[in-house]
Subunit: 334 residues, 4 copies
């Protein structure tokens, strides 16, 4: 950690600070410049409150030298992590195509969509059973029944299933789910993350609407610190001033995260845009910048979907898209 | 709900849409303009998926006429709500001064701060027992023990206590807490909100870092829909591109929320700025724009605070500030 | 224009508003709903102050039915515009590859880069002569001399040239420039836009860092209203809370603008990310979502570039990228 | 400047970088930590491209130690600057009340408003002659005629006048204007700033919608580097995701700028909120956090104002507000 002192600081105040830093069991390396003094703190600074030091009257600014994330840090784990779900691999060149409806609505619906997305090239089935809705008056999902129907669809098609968890109290219902999804609004629900860290099951962690890449990695760290190393990161759009699309898909996050972490990174163009006709171009862009997979909403009857029909593709549209995605992957991997 | 169709839409497609809307049990009022057709939907549109309609090829845009929040809507409840905690009233001219340390650290610490903030003019004590930290390696709070120490401080001073809950599983520990706080990161933890709606106890609901006023009100609605009408809203800064302060305190939210809802609205200048020396000016601004209270971090030894010392005032600074706040209140209420 | 009145508005106030609207030469269509009254304004509403009406006490909200942009609106001009610069066409399936250094630094530099980007597949040369710099103490570009050197590079390679204008007073220097660029910071320099509207020369208009798509189109409208219809739009990143990249490249703007306007839309991955190693993935993403071209910084010696070397590719990196871009274009056009 | 190298960098690469830095005439102080190497660059780093260094493969991050702004930096000029306009002083405890209509519309209008705002307590008159409008089809202001009418109003009332300039070509029209305003959209119109730096006349510089405090100070620096030291900064709201108000007024900028610079700082609550009824609470908040003045839109007939009537107060409302502002100033200065 580097502490830059303000110009013209009194010697006495400087010594006071240095002595206090030493009580924190840190070595202090002093570098007096012509204009400013810089302190280099040596030792374990992970418990030092950077904001507190920055707030001191004699301090100009503080900079952390080492990143606070460890388990997910590529520096300490250079090889890509590969998450495995049955026969499906995700990461390190293994691309996943996750597809399915926003909400599970009936056995007929989920089974028929599962079959058509499998035929179109998907290798994992998604479907919402518990739905986080802004309004308490909106449809909240089929809940436990929805998970049962997903399992039926899995049996019928062989596709592993991924579905969102909204709170610890439902954890037992997810025992037989292949990948547990943490939604954007729960990315910093630390109590939930800790519990998921106790499992040995893949977690799909979506980036929050106003969260930095570092915060996303720190949330992955919560899960991994508990011993669960199978985390998949997902970029799904951030909140900006822009009002033509629901969120702004931040695709540069994909190559940037690739440098910072060894975890697989996928892209969700459906929730990012909220508009079905923008999903194919954004899915192709996601593949082109090197994502490890795409999670896309597909519905056989978007006009009657109980939730988020606005952003769902029809199976035949998904099939065309999936074909182009494969071709783009060939181009960038050539 | 108003649906504006695109220019030059085919009669056949228009009829198809109108017929579909009628299957949703809505009346449809058609207004053919010289350039565009506008449909007015009559009836209960609260279950209509506005995004789905907006996504249809023939639709230009859609606008909801009535707000989706009801219990907290001033339209249906014109009088200010007054939340009562023991002798302390909040709202409708009753101003609350909530103060205390970021984290409870020891009995001596919390009791001594409680006494000094009471003397300085505070009427509610705050203190963190469960701490939401970005990093799993940071101090997570004294948890159950911290709540016990808060109760001791309450006994010593008579101040009601407010502290943050992080998940449903700790709910029983909060039985004897006077006000339960929902932090910014949990503003859309809907499972938690629903549980809090079952209580009959004041909830202090903080605005999320990237949440609109409407979303804040919808989260209050989750609590109120369960029958718990004692909700206090709190503006605590939003996330913007600005990098000099931790967050951007959005004070215009105070008079704007005043129009939209009857609930009390308070301001947290400590978390908004993250810098102790900016807290007094922002607290005065908060009082000047008509907030119903202020929640401020006070610590007797900010240099050694285990968490967020950077934004804490010392008791003597708080006393000076509290005096000025009272004077500003006199000016604006004159 | 649709005006939605508040619930329970007095008949007298409503009539007052309607009468006032009629003095603005507008027809008013009244639709009394069970809960709210909606007024439809008929006639030329382009001069009506939407904010003023929205601010009236009895008004809940106002919505414009027709977009305020006309010349660039696809509704009134369904065919794609093709901008022509010498032999190079841009738009409607014609893809442009604009490349060159951030700043022109010397004849040797610009000629040698021009040759190598041409060989790598670029068909237009970029190079900054006037540089908008945040600091008055930073290098401000070679100015008039820089433009002369660009012309030499054009003569040597046959590549048309594009360079940025910073103010009206330099307009005469740009007479022999093929495409004049308006930078992000000048997107709403309306005086400059009006002057450029008097020319009959292609304008490359970059989106401002905090500007909506509508504002970008309104700025294009300023140029086109003057009679200059050769405008190329450029997405180059917006400012968000995100701090890992310089700006957030908003690629969904490309397909969204495609619907709204007939003008060509290109992408600038260099300024958006500010980091050379993120340029190739973002360039590929830009091609994959259907942009009409890419503008990319290339420098033969990024380490010694006088400006923005951080985001420049070397010619050999650009050649590899250009090849992949062509392949991606084949995939999406198949 | 501090350069932090990545973990495990090869000795050879490190030496290459150090040698290159020395060719830039910089001293390099090397500090080898247990985990990372930190280089301290000594000498004039104002011409060093921080982004270029940050982009190098072996570099983790770079931090500037000294701020790039000098003339406006409080470090080098600890006393508050006082801007004088006739008898009116701004800064260092001198509070200015700038008021007037959004646009000058007629002699009668501007003279009558000038008289009433003077009576209500204003000491400077504002009025737009050149209007930056998003749409080319909107009213663009009375231009030269508007400035003449402002002068008449000044003659009638004695109030100094402030009005906005939109481009260099109108500079001669502003010779007899007391304070020249640079609007938010022109904050980084560097050509304009340079010209204004040649004048010896107060400049009111508004913060851009997406500009950081540092960028605002760098724009002031453009003016001051030319020798014009009479710059007044103005916070007028930034663009965020929030959609209830036009912009988000960032009041913490006031005390933050106070620390960074000696220039006066005023607040514009009218443009920040865009809603007349939010102007009084935000004006009071601006006074409460220590601003040096307020610029507020006042119109005698907001319903018929040609521009921005939505955010204008009536003179009688302004008088009430001005009285409370004075009282708040007494409280905070006590």
């Amino acid at each position: 950690m580097i502490v830059i002192l303000k110009h013209g600081v009194k010697e006495e105040k400087k010594e006071q600070l240095i002595n206090w830093l030493k009580t924190l069991h840190l070595g202090v390396h002093i570098s007096d410049g012509s204009f400013q003094t810089v302190l280099g703190l040596i030792g374990d600074t992970s418990h030092v409150d950077i904001d507190l030091i920055a707030s001191l009257e004699i301090v100009d600014s503080v900079k952390r030298v080492s990143e606070p994330f460890k388990c997910c840090n590529r520096k300490f784990h250079p090889e890509d992590t590969i998450v495995e779900v049955g026969d499906v691999k995700i990461g390190s060149g293994n691309f996943c195509m996750i597809a399915g409806p926003c909400s599970v609505e009936s056995e007929e619906q989920i089974v028929s969509i599962a079959k058509s997305v499998k035929e179109a090239g998907a290798n994992i089935l998604r479907g919402g059973a518990f739905k986080p809705r802004t309004s308490p008056y909106d449809f909240q999902g089929m809940q436990a029944d929805g998970i049962e129907l997903l399992k039926i669809a899995r049996q019928e098609t062989g596709l592993p299933i991924v579905t969102e968890i909204m709170g610890i109290k439902h954890l037992s219902l997810f025992e037989d789910v292949d990948i547990i999804q943490v939604g954007a609004r729960n990315m910093q629900n630390f109590d939930l993350l800790k519990e998921l860290g106790r499992l040995r099951k893949p977690i799909l962690l979506k980036r929050g609407l106003a969260n930095t890449l570092k915060e996303l990695l720190m949330s992955a760290e919560y899960i991994m610190a508990g011993g669960n190393e199978q985390v998949i990161l997902c970029e799904r759009g951030i909140r900006t001033f822009d009002d033509y699309t629901r969120n702004t898909l931040d695709l540069a996050a994909v190559p940037m995260l690739r440098e910072l972490t060894h975890l697989p990174i996928i892209v969700d163009p459906s929730h990012a845009t909220g508009i079905a006709r923008l999903v194919p171009p954004m899915a192709l862009s996601g593949a082109a910048c090197g994502a490890d997979g795409l999670i896309i909403e597909v519905h056989n009857d978007p006009m009657h979907a109980l939730c988020d029909g606005a952003q769902s593709l029809r199976p035949e549209e998904y099939a065309v898209l999936a074909h182009k995605v494969r071709q783009i992957r060939e181009v960038i991997n050539a």
